[in-house]
């Protein structure tokens, strides 16, 4: 009886491993889901969806994309290239598939829900999700006129409160009309060093017993 149980267990184990391998191979077979991290970390591409539409490997590889995952390391992997028919723009041109400059959220569906700026002071929180809910699918209300996607605002010398008061960056809307003025309710966006530490690391305030 014991021997029988052992054999059954063994068979079951072998079967499960075999199934797992097969499943994995299946995913790899069509490339799985790719989450691009550059130049922005928000685009998810699902191989299966595209294959199910009737495309095969040759439709894209290697004239639009190399088999090797390399697109995001290329300097021209941006929206401008797509508008020029490169990368996703090979099909997403308004004929074969919806144009690259429409339906942003269909591909950019993994936007960070919260962005935390640490410069020039620690730290400012921007709730991307809450703002997207306010403007709907209209990414253009901020991108790229107010916040260019290819530039990190934090790295700009003029990413300061003074610029905001002049209507730049957040100040475009936070002017006292469309949204509360930039020179009011400071701590709504400024979460401080304490807020930053809560989000990114275990509390280290220098106080004992904590």
């Amino acid at each position: 009886m014991k021997k029988y149980i052992k054999i059954v267990t063994l068979l079951f184990a072998v079967a499960s491993v075999g199934y797992a391998i097969q499943a994995k191979a299946g995913d790899e077979g069509h490339g799985g889901t790719i989450t691009f991290t550059k130049p922005v970390s928000s685009v998810v591409f699902d191989h299966k969806t595209h294959i199910d539409m009737g495309f095969d490997c040759d439709s894209c590889h290697e004239k639009l994309f190399e088999y090797k995952r390399s697109s995001e390391d290329k300097a021209d992997f941006n929206m401008a290239s797509m508008y020029a028919g490169k990368y996703c723009g090979g099909c997403h041109n308004g004929n074969t598939a919806f144009a690259s400059n429409t339906k942003c959220g269909s591909c950019h569906n993994n936007v960070k829900s919260k962005i935390v700026f640490a410069k020039p002071v620690k730290a400012v929180i921007f709730d991307h999700k809450a703002h997207i809910e306010m403007v709907g699918d209209d990414c253009a209300s901020c991108h790229d006129s107010v916040f260019p996607s290819d530039k990190k605002s934090e790295a700009q010398a003029d990413f300061t409160m003074d610029s905001l008061y002049k209507g730049k960056y957040c100040g475009k809307c936070h002017d006292g009309n469309m949204a509360f003025a930039s020179n009011t309710k400071c701590a709504t966006c400024h979460i401080g060093v304490k807020g930053y530490n809560r989000m990114f690391k275990t509390e280290k305030t220098g106080h004992k017993g904590h």
Partner: protein, 253 residues
Amino acid sequence: MRIEEIEALEKLKKEGADNLPSPERRKFLQIGLVVTGVFAGGTILSLTAAKESLAALDGIEQRKFPYKPHYAMVMRQDKCIDCQLCMDACVKTNNVPDYGYRTTILEREVELAPEKKFREFIPVLCNQCNKPPCVRVCPTTATYKDPKTGIVRMEITRCIGCKTCMAACPYNARYYNEDKRAIDKCDFCFESRLSKGETLTACAAACPAGVRIFGDITDPSSQVHKLVYEPERVLWVLRPETGAVPNVFYTKG
């Protein structure tokens, strides 16, 4: 200590246990300093209207001040964003170890209505009280009111590390410095800056948001004086009920 000094001390009015913060209140304040948003609950922060808090400061209504210059700080509290540049500057300027602080920033979340909260940051430091409980309780006169500026200073060679002043301070503004083997505290940067000709404390100089306004309250042209005496401006002090008569004021806007 000379006999006369001891006799003079003995003549002082007895403090009595009533004047010391209760253990609960003290514990509460300590919680407030390390954990965020916990120090609500009335007695820690008593907000009073301008008139009452001004009444708490001896002679301020008559515009009489015990010292000249009489250093004070006004915190434009709602502008504080907890960037902690003040704390960094203080640590650097006054060699403050990481287990202590001369100034820190408290945080609390105030619930205005369900689902409607606002966060505020409250910078704190030694209030350089006109009636400092720490000075009253110090058995060796190691901590004293500077006779000229009114700053509560330390003579560390006299400090025996008994920590009585730490217990007496209503503002938790003192810590034991293991290197100095003495209590250390904010002296409005007197030793590190003011005595060397600087006009601002390190924290006030470092603040990018114009929160910490420092100056001589007896000087009508100083921003501190202007803010304190601006008609209709609401000012308050922390824990006025202790009767310590602090020289750090809080305001908004």
